[in-house]
Symmetry: C3
Subunit: 315 residues, 3 copies
């Protein structure tokens, strides 16, 4: 770097280092590492291979040798997960005294062990979600296509993994996982939400499912649905309060609907029409449809459009 | 892995292996590989380099040597595409008898050959889409910026590639391709849709274009537009039925509009206003605008807000 | 490649090469490279490491050695940025005469130097945005979680970087940067927008902030908010015109609202309710809420649903 910038370099480094030393955000973690996002994403990819064996690797699997494959992946997942969980527990609890290390090791082992034993159950649940997607979508040619391509299944799978870690009070990692799914799919499911069996999200872009949602079994939702809070202007004072709705079994919610508030309950078997805006409970077996905004029609020749649009045309 | 988890490991591997052997989802493909998603994405990247030479590589291209570059990329694309197509044909048709191998090879060669011969035509079509984006967007400084950065062009390019494979009845790969674009852009175009020349999508997040849509030439759509189905509660019984609308030439559809149903036709030259919700056909040369929901205005000092919001404020 | 395709290969290469030579899109850059998108994304990752030291690397940082870390990253950023800026200036200005090379080098040095000196200021601004996210979101357990996972902070950070390059009139690179953030988060902030301190975007999918927006301090917006243009049917003739709204200090805009037009001003301290559609200015201290579309409720037993839905049920 033999350019003019050299002379400013020293000063710039000094300014950034001063920021680093003085800013409360950065001064926290001098004594330990933070979680590594890349490794957490690797864990998710390996778990997905475990859950859908044969779908996301180049090797051919066979009934006879599947144990080797599974065992190998499990060891890899366990090592990475152990490292990341230990890291976030250390950081979050400000444990930097070596005398606490055996406690930390024990706690990490316990969490890893509980989580991994849940894997067959998680796998079974996700398999039911795949079936729900197949049953619900005429564009699905077969089960394999859903596993390969459907963003809803990707997001739900990651949610089901992250939710178990959330219940085990693992800091940071559950949210990093669900925000990775949000990045990939546009589907934002908070890892704290409770979601029952056989859940289907179609298309999915723009879906938001808040932290304190409770969702029953056989629920179907479409793109752009928000299961959100009423005002969050209380900010941090609302932490822990149930702010998001309860959706009972067999409910279908069509695209663009918003259902808001911690007291709001959508009763079982109900169907919520597209674009509905709901802030009060809806009883069982109810169809809610929207009197959509009135449309105005005007017939014009294209030439007239061109003259008018700058004056009054609205997106 | 010298930790407590070891002792549970054997049992866990056994449980997962049992799931693998017994679940109908996984038992299908013991005899052959599935498609490899990573390689399909590589194919897309190489095709994009072929379609926009010079835009997505570090090497400098030159008029004199362009044949070497194109030839080299084509060989690479053909090899990968051949491998993936053979793989999905084998899998989808349960061909595992070696006597069928020559038929499979022949069929794969035929599809590859037809598809690759279409490349100059696909390139020409995408070039017209780029021009449409430039003409339609005042924020576009030049053509290059559109090719580099516009998510709409990314999604349309991948759709145009995937649609040709869809027409050739290639299983899995077209949907994997368009869902990759959906991941990257939030624009969900089903590979089965038919879309005419000079198509422009601006911003694009949340756009959904269903499998049986038919879209004419010079159509412009904005973020959040759904060209969708009426009820899909019929699930698999609706497969193959035209469930999505027809949009004729020169139609513009502004953001957030939903146009639903297989019988719904938007006549040529029409303009659909933002947030319109349309389930019936609209004649030619029609401007549809929305009587937007009435707004209520209330002037208050900020202090009052703070007292009120917990009681009644709604997102 | 010993397959049938060989014989068509030569013709196909020739067709694509002819397209390349004749199409005005591709003929432009025979004499120089274009920007490399991958390297621009690497620059963003390294800048993020500089802005949030310790969050996105595997190494442990320490107060004592932070200068080495920062210095090393800065050298790397400067080299890449210099290469990319020189590349786009050369391309955009059609400078291919060697006698212009010293001018180009000087200009590139000047831009790099100004931009890098701004880094501590950019870092300080982003830190304030992080604090705004923490204060505004009850689901945020701590500051670290926000830096790790929040898509809003990701998109705003990249916008703040890109905006400085935009103000320095660097072609292509700012838009490539913000479209990368758009890809990752579904949040589309044009690098030309002007955004004040302490800006918070929650969830974020579907947010669109147009090129000529002006946004004050302490503004909060939610998913699906559009700060857009009225008609853009004027296309390229509207380039440079203020087409997008002004949002004053302390405004909150809830999900799904659209605020459109270059003359539209939302006065300070106002709150815009979800789904509001606004094309005219709103005075200070105003609460705008939406008379949401009327809902129709119908109680039915599930059996009846099944009979009816094909006839009249609407998504």
């Amino acid at each position: 770097m033999s350019r003019e910038f050299d002379k400013n370099m020293v000063q710039l480094v000094s300014q950034l280092a001063t920021n680093y030393r003085q800013n409360f955000i950065f001064s926290l973690y001098d004594s330990c590492n933070l979680a590594n996002k890349d490794e957490i994403i690797e864990i998710l990819h390996e778990l997905r291979q475990l859950i859908f064996p044969g779908f996301f690797e180049k090797k051919r699997l066979s009934n006879d040798t599947i144990e080797y494959y599974i065992g190998d992946l499990l060891i890899s997942v366990e090592e990475k997960l152990h490292r990341q969980i230990k890291c976030v527990l250390l950081y979050k609890n400000h444990l930097n005294n070596e005398s606490e290390d055996s406690y930390l090791e024990e706690k990490t082992n316990e969490i890893c062990s509980i989580f991994l034993k849940l894997l067959p159950e998680i796998q079974a649940r996700i398999t039911i979600d795949v079936q729900a997607a197949y049953d619900g979508d005429p564009a699905a040619s077969d089960i394999e296509q859903i596993i390969f391509s459907y963003p809803g299944i990707f997001a739900i799978s990651i949610y089901r993994i992250a939710h178990e870690l959330y219940k085990l009070s693992v800091p940071y990692i559950p949210r990093i996982m669900t925000e990775y799914a949000h990045n990939e799919t546009g589907i934002d499911i908070n890892s704290g939400a409770e979601i029952g069996k056989s859940f289907f999200i179609d298309h999915g872009t723009g879906v938001v499912i808040g932290e304190t949602c409770v969702i029953g079994e056989n629920v179907k939702i479409y793109q752009g649905v928000t299961l959100g809070a009423l005002s969050t202007r209380g900010g941090q004072t609302l932490q822990g309060v149930k702010r998001h709705p309860t959706i009972e079994d067999n409910v279908t919610i069509y695209s663009g609907a918003s259902i808001l508030g911690g007291e709001t309950v959508i009763g079982k078997n109900s169907i919520i029409g597209g674009n509905a805006f709901i802030t009060k409970s809806v009883p069982e077996d109810t169809r809610v449809s929207v009197q959509n905004p009135e449309l105005k029609f005007k017939n014009s020749k294209p030439k007239e459009f061109e003259q008018e649009f700058i004056l009054d045309w609205i997106i």
